[in-house]
Amino acid sequence: MTRKEYLIRQKEEKGRKLFGIFPAHYPKEILWAMNVLPVEIWDPPLEVSHANAHLQPYICSVVKLGLELILQGKCDEIDGFLFPHTCDSLQNLASMIYNYLDLNKPCYFFYHPKAPYRDASRQYYLDELKSLVLRLEKQLGALDPSELKQQVKQGQQVATLLRELYSLRAHGELKASNVDFYQIIRRGEYLHPDDFLPLLEEFLAISRGQVVKGPSVVLSGILPSPPDILKLLDEMGVRVADDDLLNCSRRLSVPTSKDEDPFEAMAENYFAMPPCTTKDSPLNTRVDYLFKKIEYSKAKGVIFYMVKFCETELFDVPQLVEELKKKGLATLVIDCELNQGLSGQIETRVEAFVEMII
């Protein structure tokens, strides 16, 4: 079943509303509990044309493709949009869509506090969660607190399975290729947990097993796209043993909260998430986090897979590279446009990097 077919069936058969969600951090449990299916918009497979009339050439392709998706009329089935506060460009895109484009669809904004966290940050996050619920209730009706509790638990089940997959992969006990692994992980961007949980369980069952020995790396950046890098690494026998990707492991809280109050549990999960550029995490926490991943997975180096023009990520890279090099680790920084594949030059650089870590 294609993604589109799945979404239409969710609407027709389950009566769920569909919300387009722009990157990156948001409380999906609230949406599930209100019978809304969040559909994340990261890198729709489109050629950018219409968006160029609205956005400058120096704006990243996550922002451009998201707008392109709307302008090409491919969001007709969408019942609303949610814009988490992620970066300057997405912040303004949210306002452009809400204020200027006359979409006639509800638009919601969700601001999460930025690090370094203080006592005020936790209270603000809780207030913002509850404020979002109040705003959503105007469109969707009252939230059932017991349903939210249930969805928080389901979200934690998803996180537990994902963490198990990540742990097995880091220890070389998951046979899946890089391509297959991220195809499964990324289906969480739109599948309801009722469907995502069995998929993960099945994947876990068939993929468990020792991998062929070979070099491994950690992948850092926004998302594993264009996916050509995964294919290239597979072909070269290099395993992505772990990642520090915004749309993958950076959204996995460790450990998940046991709090009975669903709002408190969501807040605890948010603050237990790994350090992230979009939350302004201090550099030393990012360095420590990367070192832990490398030590845990025995990776030989880090590939920083950047989306071109992404200031949020690019600012941290020089210091991270410097710290990794001090420890004798190999690093490779690549920046490219989404949906444009890898150039021959980038392939050559990846090959040279792999030769270094063999």
Binding site: C87, Y98, R118, E322
Partner: protein, 437 residues
């Protein structure tokens, strides 16, 4: 803080700086600038401005070790730091200085050699280039004891200051301002007020001074008066002919950014305002033949200020307003000495760049009407995403609603390597034609 360094700082403040200023003004008089017939007489206050800013940079060399030093973002609520007697330094102001001195490409290139991508903000690259090379047109910059950033102008400043905190190994204090997507919410204000309260112990520790609420209220009062006076300075450009140009305002902006909350800035703007009113009374315009009045959107292109000033004046076009200069006058009215924290939360979180695009559209419409603007020049600045994303639609909507001709210039604030003279000239010439029709 060292008592010897404190003594040296005070000596320089009371004796060294005045002597330097006198010497500097004498030297300038020997080389007067050639007069351009397209312009009216130069503003006399500019000499005083130069003295104030030169003194500020000069004293910064001696501040280290004598006073607690804070590096501050242009939109941060500096009033709180003033209550602890911090010497404040503004890297964005320094970036603009490097831009006007055409040092942007050189310092950016240094940062790029250290891995900072050319797509990153050029103010940040200049600042990091200074960190790695020590080069600056100001002689020497003081090492910070603390970094104070607010994301009310962009998220970029936080990424940039995080890097500074990493290199300088000093604390970074962030004032996190929720983006105003629709309407500011009560819990947004509570969050910001609590942040102020939580900052005080750290500021006390770094400065070695106790928080004095009464002193803080006095500073809030001065800051508010200064911003109001700055607003009145800008409002003089409603007159026909306008007594100054927006290029003048870009220069005279320095005290409201860098010295806000200090009496020197308030005194200066009162002097400037008085001179501008006198010019209005005598019908003295900034340019000799003001036929058309323009609005500028976004930060200045610092390395092209003189060229643009001459080019437009030659056509009888005067820039009389800008969203950028207006930013330090727009929301400061919220400041209230009786509710300093709550009012600062509003004044600083509702600034143009932290406010939704509908607010910006309405603001631009109002400025266009109040200042009788005939045309709009939009600087699409690579370095500034929150200012630039949405400009194409703003242009379209303003054209539709007010029939105002406009031009978009693709450039950068300080990195002239991304500026195309040919492309810009072609666009501006087309704009001139549209203005004539």
């Amino acid at each position: 803080m060292s008592s010897v360094k404190n003594l040296r700082y005070n000596f320089m403040k009371d004796l060294g700086a005045p002597v330097l200023m006198r010497f500097s003004s004498l030297r300038k008089k020997r080389h007067p600038r050639k007069l351009n017939p397209d312009f009216g007489p130069a503003l006399k206050s500019t000499n005083r401005l130069k003295e104030i800013m030169t003194r500020h940079y000069f004293l910064s060399r001696y501040a280290e070790g004598a006073k607690p030093v804070a590096w501050v973002t242009s939109g941060a609520p500096v009033e709180l730091l003033r209550a602890f007697d911090f010497y404040t330094f503004y890297p964005e102001n320094h970036g603009a200085l490097c831009g006007t001195q055409k040092m942007g490409p050189e310092l950016c290139a240094v940062a790029e050699e250290h891995g900072y991508h050319q797509d990153l903000c050029s103010y940040a690259r200049i600042d990091l280039g200074h960190y790695f090379s020590g080069k600056t047109p100001a002689g020497k910059l003081p090492k910070p004891d603390i970094l104070f950033a607010s994301n009310n102008i962009c998220q970029t400043v936080v990424y940039w200051y995080k890097a500074l905190a990493h290199y300088w190994k000093v604390p970074l204090l962030l004032f996190d301002t929720p983006y105003n997507f629709d309407k500011i919410k009560e819990h947004d204000i509570s969050y910001m007020v609590r942040q102020f309260e939580e900052m005080i112990p750290l500021l006390e520790r770094v400065s070695g001074k106790r928080f004095n609420y009464q002193k803080f209220q006095e500073i809030i009062y001065i800051a508010k008066e200064t911003s109001i006076t700055w607003g009145e300075v800008l409002a003089t450009m409603k007159a026909r002919p306008a007594p100054m140009t927006i290029f003048d305002a870009f220069v005279h902006l320095a005290p409201i950014v860098s010295l806000r909350g200090l009496p020197v800035a308030l005194d200066y703007y009162r002097t400037l305002l008085s001179e501008l009113k006198e010019r209005i009374d005598h019908g003295v315009g900034a340019i000799t033949n003001e036929n058309k009045r323009l609005m500028w959107d976004n930060i200045a292109i610092w390395y092209k200020m003189r060229d643009f000033s001459d080019l437009f004046a030659e056509q009888g076009m005067n820039f009389v307003t800008a969203t950028y200069t207006n930013a330090w006058a727009e929301t400061i009215y919220y400041l209230d000495v009786n509710q300093p924290f709550e009012s600062m939360a509003k004044a600083y979180s509702l600034v143009i760049l932290n406010n939704n695009l509908n607010n910006r559209l309405e603001l631009m419409e109002r400025l266009i009407k109040e200042y009788q603007v005939d045309g709009l020049v939009i600087h699409s600045a690579r370095s500034c995403k929150p200012y630039s994303v949405g400009q194409y639609d703003l242009r379209r909507l303003l054209m539709y609603r007010l029939k105002v001709p406009s031009v978009v210039i693709e450039a950068d604030i300080t990195d002239s390597r991304v500026y195309s003279e040919g492309q810009t000239r072609t666009r501006i010439e087309a704009f001139f034609e549209a203005m004539e029709s």
